[in-house]
């Protein structure tokens, strides 16, 4: 065995340094040669990967070094989720400072417009300035509740955050380019994070097409909750598509094109499709608009024993692409509901609202649920079963069991 292992490890060394060996392996495995990206993945002292060692370990659940969830009770009860608590979901390695270079010189090209142009970050910052709040939520948030155990991180509630973005409205950029070309149907954003890896661009490139109309709400953001957009969250420049799932908010943004067709990359054509269990394909809907959703953040089984008497039941509610109108809370597993009160500032229809229901609970066991409505739609009781465990907004799975003593 030792002999074999030595041989393999020698080969591995070639494999990591020599392109000839890489090409050979690639031929066997039907993948294109790969250049190993900078190592930004070793475990930090707090049990977090180095590239996010600045985050709060206690606020986070580590599913893997590229899938890190916020604890249910740590999404930020003051409305905005602090950066150190925000989840991480990376399809590609985060770009390093060295790969990014001078942030002011970061370039993004705008195509499918009357006058296609390339802007540096410094030029964008002269073009316009706006701040808005949106919810960043992974398409698979809630996957951990599906009984058929879909592949991927088993998120419960914490692949979501409410974020204040500062940047330039996409509409301002479009106007500066003379408007959208005729015939465009989609706004397609591309990241450049794949380039250093040398993977097959059709498979590895992050490109996402959303309906063209999204440009009116979208932003090219360089700041997140008051600090320059961290690399781990797509710095120095990221597309923000309000009301649309996280994957459409393309990180390390290099190009925005108004296109007739959806992008043909795997992340658009095949991945992130909401298909029945056992089926897949590009004929199924893409993870675009987020549905109305809410969940309780306190009390939960994470927040310790609840004492009998007056209790504040607290949570967050989002309307998706529409303003959230109301939220009801049940302490008896959905048999009866009471209207909760929205509190805190209203940061617009793309942010979530905090809610609270003050109630009195005597000793016993309770199942607490919340049910939000945006006027047009309300949360269903049950999840919409689908192959990859996307877009879960059923209230029952998101309920919490607590014991009052």
């Amino acid at each position: 065995m030792n002999k074999n292992k030595t041989k393999l490890n020698l080969n591995r060394r070639n494999f990591l340094t020599g392109t000839a060996t890489l090409a050979g392996i690639a031929a066997t495995a039907s993948v294109v040669p790969i250049t190993i990206a900078n190592a930004n993945h070793s475990e930090g002292k707090k049990g977090l990967p180095d590239f996010i060692s600045w985050k709060d370990r206690d606020a986070l659940i580590v599913h893997s070094d590229k899938g890190i969830e916020t604890h249910r009770s740590a999404i930020g009860e003051s409305l905005v989720t602090p950066n150190r608590n925000i989840y991480i979901r990376n399809n590609m390695p985060t770009m390093t400072d060295a790969q990014i270079g001078d942030r002011k010189k970061w370039k993004v090209s705008i195509e499918g417009v009357k006058n296609p142009q390339t802007f540096t970050l410094a030029q964008l910052q002269k073009l316009g300035h706006e701040t808005m709040a949106t919810i960043l939520q992974c398409s698979g948030n809630g996957r951990g509740f599906f009984e058929h155990k879909p592949r991927g991180s088993q998120w419960k509630t914490g692949a979501a955050a409410c974020v204040l973005w500062t940047g330039v409205p996409m509409k301002t950029v479009v106007d500066a380019c003379g408007g959208i070309s005729g015939g465009a149907v989609y706004m397609t954003s591309e990241g450049v994070d794949h380039v250093p890896t040398g993977l097959d661009p059709k498979k590895a490139m992050i490109a996402r097409s959303v309906p063209k109309k999204v440009f009116k709400d979208a932003m090219l953001a360089w700041e997140m909750n008051g600090v320059p957009l961290p690399n781990a969250h797509g710095g120095p420049l990221r597309m923000v598509t309000p009301g649309y799932f996280g994957i459409n908010n393309v990180k390390h943004l290099g190009k925005v094109a108004f296109t007739v067709e959806q992008s043909s990359v795997k992340y658009m054509k095949k991945s992130y499709r909401i298909s029945p269990i056992g089926k897949k394909g590009s004929q199924y809907p893409s993870c675009w608009e987020m549905p109305v959703k809410s969940w309780i953040t306190r009390p939960t089984d994470e927040t310790g024993t609840v004492k009998a008497g007056k209790v504040q039941i607290v949570g967050v509610a989002m309307g998706g692409t529409k303003k959230v109108r109301s939220v009801k809370v049940s302490v008896d597993g959905g048999s009866s509901w009471k209207k909760a009160k929205f509190i805190g500032p209203n940061l617009g229809k793309f942010a979530w609202r905090q809610f609270v229901l003050e109630t009195t609970l005597s000793a016993g066991s309770y199942n607490i649920a919340s049910l939000a409505s945006n006027g047009a739609d309300k949360q269903p009781e049950l999840r919409m079963e689908n192959r990859r465990g996307y877009a879960h907004n059923g209230w029952k799975d998101h309920s919490v069991n607590i014991t009052v003593v």
Binding site: I25, A39, Q154
Partner: protein
């Protein structure tokens, strides 16, 4: 045993898992997909499922017939028995 040796070979060479994943036991340092030593709940069934069907940028080694069923069995066995070692 023999299955583990064969699994290491598939991991590092045939399938080139090592190009994209860290697995300390295999000495691999790839940084495209997750560090396999950090993935929670990783076991034979979950590895086989993902290797067969792919996930995101990861190829569907089974569906696309990049690996044989036997090879998938062996590499899944290898990974499930190597993580965290």
């Amino acid at each position: 045993d023999a299955k583990m040796i064969k699994g290491l070979e598939i991991f590092n060479e045939t399938a080139a898992c090592a190009a994209c994943h860290i697995l300390k036991a295999a000495g691999s340092e790839g940084n495209i997909g997750p560090n396999l030593d950090t993935v929670e709940g990783l076991n034979y069934d979950s590895v086989m499922d993902i290797v067969t069907h792919g996930l995101g940028v990861m190829p569907a080694f089974g569906e696309d017939e990049i690996l044989s069923k036997d090879e998938i069995d062996i590499v899944s066995f290898y990974v499930a028995n190597s993580v965290g070692k």
